[in-house]
Symmetry: C2
Subunit: 184 residues, 2 copies
DNA sequence: ACCTGTCGTTCGTCAAGCCGAACTCGAGGA
DNA sequence: TCCTCGAGTTCGGCTTGACGAACGACAGGT
């Protein structure tokens, strides 16, 4: 769930952002309103910056806060249709394994789900911060967090937090959709 | 690009995570290895925590660091097929408007792209932290960051950082794909 | 009523982050 | 060669976050 050390990551991230801006550390410190000595120590990996200090740097770098504390850059990942976890429910209800099959270590998973009317599937909350993306391939669906379900037509896209109960219900025959689960 | 203030957000996030765990502040402090007086001040919105302190809390809460500093929870968003930015290129090359049409304020956008062999589209880097998701609907594609392109078959899914140059090339006729752009 | 345990806050001390100034190093110009 | 300027590091001080202990408030048990 939680990953690598913070301090070295922060130091690298700051250097990376500064390189991207193409400015000196003195200039970055000036823009951020912090002492260049402070910035020097941060880039050296020394110390334990406060949130305000990091925030000031993130603002002038024009990047979200998380860019400075999360690991470097997301890699290129490919999930082959032939390999990925997919479940065809045919005319039967979704199995509970559909969403439970997500490997906990993975950052994202893709499922192709197919369903028939009446196959309502209620999913328990995933780990905090998990977000799902759903693109309807065919048929009509009703899906979303409990109490906030929306009707979806072919081609529609919906995203919602999945760390709370949520459901997928096919409203027409031969309904299918691509489901992307994004773990954090 | 960068959003709301940090301190109040952090205080709210910590309380929220602690509520979710259903434990007392004393217990959370004990697990995190920090003084409960420190945690008390943080939940009160007083002060300016160090990265290490916040990190310790995030670890025991089982959430990524960004959960504590970024705004609350992602909302449910729906992009209708009839409204969303979509371009059919038919037999002609992608127009440069394809990717440039992404509203800068949006957090995510969805495109349905169709292409024919020879229609290579090179995209300039998006803002830092932007990530793209691509699900192939039909045909074969070659896409990805410059130098790291991969071949994709129908149903394949790929995600990659889009803050660097990247390309999409259809390898077969009637190639189509769903493209999700995620801004940060 | 009394004791006991837990909760959350407040206070005094200590360590550490942040700051500004001084310093070293190196490149470019007269 | 000397001077000047900018980049980056190091050094004292001042401020502030983190800690442990003590405090009042409350609930449950005896």
């Amino acid at each position: 769930m939680n990953r690598t050390p913070p301090l070295a990551t922060i130091a690298a991230a700051i250097r990376r952002e500064r390189d991207r801006l193409g400015i000196s550390s003195a200039e970055l410190a000036r823009r951020a309103g912090i002492a260049k000595s402070t910035l020097s120590q941060l880039e050296a990996g020394t110390g334990n910056p406060s949130v305000e200090t990091l925030w000031a740097i993130a603002v002038v770098a024009g990047v979200p806060f998380s860019t400075l504390v999360e690991p470097p850059a997301p890699p290129v990942r490919v999930v082959r249709a032939s390999q990925r976890p997919a479940i065809r429910s045919e005319a039967s209800p979704f199995t509970s394994a559909l969403l439970a099959a997500c490997p906990p270590g993975a950052r994202r998973d893709v499922h192709v789900i197919t369903s028939e009317p009446g196959d309502a599937r209620a999913s328990d909350p995933h780990s905090p911060g998990t977000v799902e993306h759903m693109v309807v391939s065919s048929g009509r669906w009703n899906a979303g967090p409990a109490g906030e379900e929306v009707d979806l037509d072919p081609g529609d896209y919906v995203t919602f937090p999945a760390d709370r109960p949520h459901t997928y219900r096919a409203l027409t025959a031969d309904a299918s959709a691509v489901l992307v689960m994004e773990y954090r």
